[in-house]
C-alpha cells in the first residue's frame, strides 16, 4: 500500500500517467489531470510505479504507507 502524489509545479500534463495507470490517474471535468485514488495497492501500485518511471518530469511521488 502506498500514497500517490503529483507535484503540480513540475507536471507538464504529458498524459502518460493516465495511459499507463488509468485506474489511478484520470481527467477532471476541466480536462486537468487528477489523482483518482491517492492510496493504491497491488497491480495498481505496480502501474503507478511504471507511470512514475515514465513521467518525463519526475512529478509522480509514491510513498509506502506505515
Amino acid at each position: 500500500m502506498a500514497d500517490v502524489t503529483i507535484d503540480w509545479d513540475r507536471c507538464i500534463h504529458s498524459g502518460m500517467c493516465t495511459t499507463i495507470a488509468g485506474n489511478v490517474f484520470g481527467m477532471g471535468p476541466d480536462a486537468r489531470l487528477v489523482v483518482l485514488h491517492h492510496t493504491v495497492t497491488g497491480a495498481d501500485l505496480d502501474s503507478v510505479h511504471d507511470a512514475a518511471a515514465c513521467c518525463p518530469v519526475d512529478a509522480i511521488g509514491v510513498a509506502a504507507e506505515g
Binding site: I12, H13, S14, G15, M16, M27, A31, A53, P56
Partner: protein, 397 residues
C-alpha cells in the same frame, strides 16, 4: 539471488530505466551497467535548457546517486566503453576486459553528427553530453554573438536559452522551415514566427559554407554568400547511432541496431532500447529509431517485461515528446506524417493551439502549444481511435 546476469551496454536513460523496471518486476539476478562516460547516468533534456541558462548546475541532472544504484543492487561501471560483442560466447568486450552475460540490452545511444566544416579549435561545439553543456554554458557567459547550425529541437532550445541570456542569436537551417519532419510543413511555419518574434535571426533555406577564424571561430559564411560574425557556434545537426562496436558481431546494423517487433536484435537474448534501436512501428509500418525521451523509456519497459517473462505484444510507442522554446511549452504525440492537418483550437499564429493530424480515417497525431489540458484530451481521443470527422467534438467536449 538468481544466477542470471543481465548486462546493459550504455549508461543513459534507457539503461537506467531497464534496471529499474527489471527490479520492479522482481528480477533477482545480477545487473551490470556499462557506461562510457565518467559520470553517473544523467537526464539529457535539461542540458539544452536549464543547464545552459544556469538555472540548474550540470552536477544536478543525475538520475540517482551511487548509493541508490547500490540499493537497487545494480553494478554500475562508469568510464567503461563497450568495444565489441561476441553473441556466440555471450561476451561484451570492454577496455577493462570481457564481461559475460546471459541477457544483453544494447542501450549505447547516439552521438551528435560532427560538424562537416573545417573548424578552428575553439568556439565550435555540439551538445549531447553533460560535459558539452557545461562547456557551452561557460562560453555563453562570455560570448555575446551566437550562431546555431540547425533549427531542430536541440538547435531551437539552444537558441532559446541563448536569447534568454540576452545574447545575439542567429539560427541557420538548410530546410525551408524548422522542424518540418517533426511537425509537418503546415505547422512548421508557426515555429518560424516564434523564433523571429523572440529576436532570433532565423535564416532558413541556407547552410553554412565555411567557418571563419583561425584559433577561434570569428564568423560563418553562409551558402548565400553572406557572412555572420559570431563568438560561438553550436551545431545541432542530428545524431548518429553508436553501433561501431557491434561490427563483426553478426547483428544487423542499418542506421541503428535493427530489431524485430519485440526489440530483439537477432539472438533471443539480445535486445535494444533507446536511440540506438531501430524497429518497425506496427502503427505506421515504418522502420525508425525513436530518438525521444519517452520512446526510450517505453522501450526499456518493454524489454524489462520480456526479460522477466512477460509476453507483451509487439512494441508500440505513443511517440510523445515535448520541448520548451522561448517560454512556450509544446507537446506532441503520435504521427505527423499524415495528409490531414487541422487546427482544433487556438490559432497557429497565436500563443496557444492544438493541432490534429489525420490519416483520412482517424486522428493519428496531436501537437499542442501551451494547451496542456486540451492536449491530454486530444491524446486520449487519439488513443481511443476517434474518427477524424469526430475529432472536434471529442477534443473540444
Amino acid at each position: 539471488m538468481g544466477t542470471r546476469r543481465v548486462v546493459v551496454a550504455g549508461g543513459g536513460l534507457a539503461a537506467v530505466r531497464v534496471t529499474e523496471f527489471l527490479r520492479r518486476r522482481g528480477f533477482d539476478g545480477s545487473v551490470v551497467v556499462l557506461g562510457d562516460e565518467p559520470h553517473l547516468p544523467y537526464d539529457r533534456p535539461p542540458l539544452s535548457k536549464e543547464v545552459l541558462t544556469g538555472k540548474v548546475g550540470p552536477q544536478n541532472v543525475t538520475f540517482k546517486d551511487e548509493l541508490a544504484f547500490a540499493e537497487l543492487d545494480v553494478e554500475l561501471r562508469t568510464g567503461c566503453a563497450v568495444l565489441g560483442l561476441d553473441p556466440g560466447r555471450g561476451v561484451v568486450e570492454t577496455a577493462a576486459g570481457p564481461v559475460p552475460y546471459d541477457d544483453l540490452v544494447v542501450c549505447t545511444g547516439a552521438r551528435p553528427r560532427p560538424v562537416p566544416w573545417n573548424a578552428p579549435p575553439e568556439g565550435v561545439f555540439v551538445l549531447r553530453t553533460v560535459d558539452d553543456a557545461a562547456a557551452i554554458r561557460a562560453e555563453l557567459e562570455r560570448c555575446p554573438t551566437v550562431v546555431v547550425a540547425g533549427a531542430g529541437f536541440v538547435g531551437a532550445e539552444v537558441a532559446s536559452s541563448a536569447r534568454a541570456l540576452g545574447l545575439d542569436v542567429t539560427v541557420v537551417e538548410v530546410q525551408p522551415t524548422p522542424l518540418v519532419r517533426a511537425v509537418g510543413p503546415q505547422v512548421a511555419a508557426a515555429f518560424v514566427s516564434m523564433h523571429r518574434d523572440n529576436g532570433t535571426d532565423l535564416r532558413c533555406g541556407v547552410g553554412i559554407a565555411e567557418i571563419l577564424g583561425r584559433g577561434r571561430v570569428e564568423a560563418v559564411r553562409l551558402t548565400d554568400g553572406s557572412v555572420r560574425p559570431c563568438d560561438l557556434l553550436v551545431a545541432g545537426l542530428g545524431v548518429v547511432p553508436n553501433v561501431e562496436w557491434l561490427a563483426g558481431s553478426g547483428l544487423r546494423v542499418d542506421d541503428g541496431l535493427v530489431c524485430d517487433g519485440q526489440l530483439c536484435a537477432g539472438p533471443s537474448n539480445v535486445h535494444a532500447a533507446g536511440d540506438v534501436a531501430r524497429w518497425t512501428d506496427p502503427r505506421t509500418g515504418r522502420s525508425a529509431r525513436g530518438q525521444q525521451w519517452m520512446v526510450a523509456v517505453e522501450q526499456a519497459r518493454h524489454v524489462a517485461n520480456r526479460l522477466t517473462g512477460g509476453a507483451p505484444g509487439p512494441f508500440t510507442s505513443g511517440r510523445y515528446f515535448w520541448t520548451h522554446q522561448y517560454g512556450h511549452h509544446f507537446q506532441f504525440a503520435g504521427d505527423a506524417c499524415a495528409p490531414d492537418v487541422r487546427v482544433l483550437c487556438g490559432a497557429l499564429e497565436a500563443g496557444e493551439f492544438v493541432v490534429g493530424y489525420g490519416d483520412g480515417r482517424r486522428l493519428v497525431g496531436v501537437l499542442a502549444k501551451n494547451r496542456s489540458a486540451a492536449f491530454v484530451r486530444a491524446k486520449t481521443a487519439m488513443d481511443r481511435g476517434v474518427a477524424w470527422d469526430e475529432v472536434d467534438g471529442a477534443v473540444l467536449g
